[in-house]
């Protein structure tokens, strides 16, 4: 029956866990330089530890020599490959390149030396261990190189820890530092038998480096990978079972351990897959949630900007309205004073001219109003505010009053016929007046002979009929004349200027009063009739 010493068990656990962890980081995580450098460092630590296990397990000198070579080559490679890992971890490849080159030269030299008697002269029992190295004259260079890079590595990490201001980074480095102290410190005691004639007690602590680095990877994302506790726990169980299997005393034990190991590996893989799936889903949800949060912030910002822009546009339109209409108001005001005789008597001829000026100014004011109302429509602004109890009669009288002189100037009549007992409606008085004004004005403008009749009646609805003897509307244009897409006919262009926007606005305003508006015409040159219907109440 084979019995295993604690030293052998410790060496095997360190070897298996190191190699497992290195492979896990590289194959589970991203294939980055950092993860690869850790695979190399872990592998040589595992190789070195495996060498110890084999050496102390050997029963004959030739096997012992073989394992001693494995141990030495693994051990010599540890400082340079661990230092290489640190350079990637600290992202300081360039600055410490000189040291890395030095380590490479030293390691190459020591590996060559390792095959000579200057390095080792043989293997013999020491401290109850079957075989242990008998050092040559230059063997001391190995512990010296090992200690030198242990100190340099510790200094580099400690310095980075001190300088780092990032809390997470500091935690990562703290665990790396602890791992180094136990790994290098414990490992260095393996030089004790041949150098200081002392038992290599520190070897038991080497395993702690795997534990600290694993913790840093799990809790503080040391590597470029997603580490979940389930994976680490599963790998730890696999490692323990593998060690148990390797240390099996009898064939029965070995078979049972192999079966258990295989079963645990299979269950472990299934468990890891299922946990990983859940973790991935959780991460996906968190990512979506963060994206949504980001989108919400962007939307909020955009909304504020839009509101500011809207306010700016409102202010701009107000100022434009003020600036465009004020000079016209002043012209109309002076004309009004002149016509009223405030500056002395005005001749009939001058009075006619003044009235023409007044009409032109009124037209321009209306153009400005129409332009601004169109802008308000485009911006989706509330253009009308309906109030109940509005009677149409005075509105129509005011419209006719404003256009009577223009009709007279054009040599046409403008007649108003309102039925008695007109019902009140819900309306925005001023906007409705401007809508009716535009329609009547359009008729006055495009009628050169005859005139315009306005008729209002209240019969279930308030109906206003504006009929003229003007240029008429071609049949194919009847449907679009109120939609703002009306192309003016040659006749219309000859008769008067205008954009047609007034009729479009009138239709929009009447629709906002829940009313209807349409045009009828027997054709060009045969006059037009506009119908407006507004609900009572």
């Amino acid at each position: 029956m084979i019995t295993f010493t604690p030293f052998q068990v410790s060496a095997l656990i360190t070897a298996v866990s190191s190699i497992f962890f290195g492979l896990f980081v590289y194959f589970s995580g991203e294939k980055t330089k950092l993860n690869l450098s850790w695979l190399f460092a872990s592998s040589v630590i595992g190789l070195w530890s495996l060498g110890f296990f084999g050496l102390v397990f050997s029963t004959n000198i030739s096997t012992a020599w073989f394992w001693q070579y494995i141990l030495d080559i693994g051990g010599i490679c540890i400082p340079i490959l661990y230092f290489n890992f640190l350079l990637h971890l600290l992202k300081r490849d360039k600055k410490l390149m000189v040291l890395q080159v030095f380590a490479l030269l030293a390691a190459t030299f020591l590996i060559i030396l390792n095959f000579t008697t200057l390095y080792k002269t043989g293997v013999s029992p020491k401290f109850g261990i079957n075989y242990w190295i008998d050092p040559g004259r230059l063997y001391f260079l190995f512990p010296l190189y090992f200690a030198l890079f242990a100190v340099i590595s510790t200094y580099v990490v400690a310095k980075e820890y001190r300088l780092s201001t990032d809390r997470d980074r500091k935690r990562q480095l703290m665990y790396v530092l602890l791992a180094q102290i136990f790994g290098f410190g414990g490992g260095f005691t393996d030089f004790f038998p041949q150098v200081f004639n002392t038992y290599p007690f520190g070897n038991y602590f080497v395993i702690l480096y795997v534990i600290f680095i694993s913790y840093a990877a799990l809790k503080h994302h040391l590597f470029d990978m997603r580490v979940i506790a389930t994976e680490l726990l599963t790998f730890a169980i696999w490692a323990v079972l593998l060690v148990r299997t390797l240390l099996s005393n009898a064939i029965n034990d070995l078979l049972v351990n192999i079966v258990v190991l295989v079963a645990v590996v299979v269950v472990g893989i299934l468990l890891m897959r299922s946990v990983l799936k859940e973790v991935l889903q959780k991460e996906k949800i968190e990512k979506i949630s963060k994206e949504l949060e980001g989108a919400y912030v962007v939307e909020k910002k955009a909304n504020i900007e839009l509101q500011n822009l809207d306010k700016y546009k409102d202010d701009f339109l107000r100022q434009t309205q003020h600036d465009l209409k004020n000079p016209l108001t002043v012209i109309m005001g002076y004309v009004d004073l002149l016509l009223a005789g405030n500056f002395g008597k005005v001749t009939k001829k001058a009075s006619d001219v003044l009235k023409r000026i007044e009409v032109v100014a009124q037209d321009k004011v209306r153009d400005v109003n129409n332009f601004l109302d169109t802008e308000q429509f485009k911006m989706g602004k509330k253009v009308v505010s309906l109030k109940p109890g509005v009677v149409i009669t005075p509105i129509l009288k005011e419209v006719v009053d404003r256009l009577l002189y223009q009709a007279e100037l054009g040599g046409i009549y403008l007649k108003l016929d309102i039925a008695e007992n007109m019902h009140a409606i819900s309306a925005d008085r001023e906007k409705l007046k401007s809508a009716i004004f535009n329609i009547v004005h359009n008729s006055v403008k495009y009628t050169k002979t005859g005139g315009v009749n306005i008729k209002a009646e209240s019969n279930g609805v308030v109906k206003i009929i504006v009929s003229d003897t003007g240029i008429g509307i071609p049949k194919d244009k009847l449907a679009t004349i109120l939609e703002g897409q009306f192309e003016r006919t040659e006749e219309a262009q000859k008769t008067a200027s205008g954009s047609g926007v007034g009729l479009y606005l009138s239709a929009q305003i009447i629709k906002l009063h829940n009313g209807k508006v349409w045009a009828e015409s027997a054709g060009e040159g045969k006059g037009s009739t506009f119908y407006i219907e507004l609900p009572i109440g």
Partner: protein, 125 residues
Amino acid sequence: MAEKLNKKVLIVEDDEDFISILKIKFESEGFSVITAKDGENGIETAQQEKPDLILSDVLLPGTNGIEMAKKIEEANKDAIIIFLTNLTDQEYTEEIKKMGCDCLVKSDLKISDIVEKVKSKLGLK
């Protein structure tokens, strides 16, 4: 020239021509007219001169007409204020109506219509 009415009207307006037009018309109708060209000046003049009625534009340099009217009303609840404006947007007209003031659109009226409105407000008709 009409006979003196013993009524004082304060006109707050930044357009000198429009002030001049209103002044000529109101004085010819027998009113005594005082003027101010901005909101701050309007408040000060209203407190000192105690006019019977204030005719004010909405858009004024500095303190606008609505803010000015609020301050005048704080000091004198009985102040009669009529707004004269060329603005037609809901935001202002509704605020003016809420204050209980009249709002006349300059471009829709003849100057004589404005005088008639003032007379009616002061019970002179």
